[in-house]
Point group: C2
Chain length 415, copies 2
Amino acid sequence: MLVDEIARPDDVRRQNRRLVLAALRGHDLLSRTDIVAQTGLSASTVSAITTALIAEGIVNESRDGDVTANRRGRPQVALTLNPEIATIATVELALNLAHTVLFDYKGQVIAQEIRRIPTLDATAGDLTRAICEMLDGLLAGMPGSAGRLMHISMGVQGVTDAASATMLWSPITPDINVAFGDILCARYGVSVAVANDCSMIAEALRWTDPEHYTEDFAAILLSHGIGMGLYLKGKPFLGVQSSGAEFGHMLHVPNGALCRCGRHGCIEAYASDYAILRRTAGEDEQAQPAQDVDAASFNAVADRARSRDGAERAAFRKAGQAIGSGLRSLFSLIDPVPIALVGPGAGVFDLIEPDLREIVSGTTGWGGKPDLTIRCYPDEHPLILQGCMMTSLLHLDTQLFAPGDLREAPLRRAI
Amino acid sequence: MLVDEIARPDDVRRQNRRLVLAALRGHDLLSRTDIVAQTGLSASTVSAITTALIAEGIVNESRDGDVTANRRGRPQVALTLNPEIATIATVELALNLAHTVLFDYKGQVIAQEIRRIPTLDATAGDLTRAICEMLDGLLAGMPGSAGRLMHISMGVQGVTDAASATMLWSPITPDINVAFGDILCARYGVSVAVANDCSMIAEALRWTDPEHYTEDFAAILLSHGIGMGLYLKGKPFLGVQSSGAEFGHMLHVPNGALCRCGRHGCIEAYASDYAILRRTAGEDEQAQPAQDVDAASFNAVADRARSRDGAERAAFRKAGQAIGSGLRSLFSLIDPVPIALVGPGAGVFDLIEPDLREIVSGTTGWGGKPDLTIRCYPDEHPLILQGCMMTSLLHLDTQLFAPGDLREAPLRRAI
DNA sequence: CTCTTTATTTCGAGGCTCGAAAAAAATAGT
DNA sequence: ACTATTTTTTTCGAGCCTCGAAATAAAGAG
């Protein structure tokens, strides 16, 4: 109905606990006084909240890390998140690749495994079996951490539904509607978040570079496919059905080139690696997209594009136009925001930048700000990993470690 | 910083008051028991809140409107918003038209004036002068209401910045960056909301037809220009700089037809009335857009398009393709949502629907739901009016009538 | 005129935040 | 060595809030 949520007195405490945990998450070592300064809460409230957090084992006093030594007055005692209160696991699933990691509550790596899997020929069963094998192995190797597993975050290439923690469609495997969330939840008894890898990248950027990526920004992954992770008003923007912002499948040319999604004219059909190679090879726009493009041949094409003005350079220019066209439409809807380009395509930004900027320029027709900030991150994997980690840790901070819920078993998957 | 907002105990009461007022706003006559059922609050809390609201004069007990007559037990006493506690004013500013209305707190019209103004030749000063004259006249005619004026909402054609309550650019007048908010705020001493007319339409739909327009939907105005009002997750979506979702200026054809905004290839340059007439007249795509298109000639073209297959019909088909192309991109970003088409363009929907649907079809490449709901509302003015009204009333409900703030003078403009 | 039924208010318990005062724990000065 | 000063942290009481239970109010039914 129209009724929003009803507020209860203890919601206040929940919210302020979140604030304290967020402060601690951002700064590792903080005294109570620091927390007062950061959050704006009163000293009494911070005292009450921190004593509770310490009693529950979520936060530790760390005497050795003395923040302010040799000053007059009672010394501050530094607080820090207790790394051993929880373990989380992350899974990155990409083309021919699965990467699982175990982290502690402070975000330090406990153990990890990278495995090459022929995903194009793998069924949903194959994939889940491999992932579970890997997780089982990690947990078995770290018996101390196994019992403390509290959340799993998964970043996958493809279209996901966050609400049902399902991978709806992915270019890396023929199977569709794979309910990774339910499967992993059933096996490990913890809540599971499944999201598009681009959402994870956005999450990572927000935490690693809060200077530049604060309230509103977009991370665009230029790789095998074209995806986007979007932050609006300081919150991750997932689509209405929470299948994410499919930047790569905005329409660039009506009835244009064949896209891997089966439709025609998508941005991806001009700007992804397969699109660039298809054009470079002189194939028809309607030719079936390659399922896999290896980095070597992509880089070879980029090198040729840089050395001489030919079909290669033209293909990258087309890519720049496609992305620029998408950005122009995106900016019409949500106003210009800082853009992060991530993945192999970011490594060849010099080849696409001029055309991209030409199309985007004059975004605001009535004379608004025309400047466009773009930063490039050629390697997407560390960002995906970190995004998964932050997703899990933030889930613990906000959901699980809210008062009262602490001891309840997390039976359902996460939002 | 990263810190969200800090919660205090009285925030709880504020939120729950909002809930009670929202229930009353939606149902006119409600007993305390009804409110308990609607909101989920306890009877004690509802009792406490309603007695406070009655004491402050915001709510009235209405004995005559007996909800449940002739039943056993103590009869329920109906509560209703007190229409006389506040007056609000709305201003609709469109091409050659200004429409001002005074409403009471229950949303009933007190007085209104419609005035035809040659806006294309009017300066910002002319416009504000006219608006103030009209408002002064209405307030003078209703001496009882004048002192109770508490908010003004303005819906204008063009690009607005809600945060600064400014009209950044508008097709109806040459002047730009007109700070209507500051001007009206200074003159009447109340907070002022200035928004795009399409946002107002969305607001109105949400309240008049909550069945169909709940959490997520878009209202697209097809008229002199092409605009959009968007609701996401039950909240109005204004762009990052809160200049709104400029659907009409998404890119349809790179380097395409000349748009009134000065750029090329915008959807509006194909789908607005001036675009259709330009094409019908056989003019070049790059010809300067007409500043004003009268309804009669537009309808004449539509009639010809219906009667024979010629340039007219082709123009409407182009319009359908442009809108369809925009919808396809929009749906890629935010998933399909119900669409309301509003304004003159909605009256000729039969002419654009086939092409529109053909382009949109297959929106979700991976096999998601393809169904697209479109409803048409040929007359935009009642919706704009109602949207302005609801914006003001909701502002009073949520901001002004929160406890503690009641007697403070509203000196700044609204968000 | 009493009984039953339903609506609303009152009252006490248990939260919460906050400011002021108290306690704790160090350095500085004599 | 011992007191004064300074800074951090905790404790305590006031003033919010919601809620459940009990009390009160106001009808119709018998």
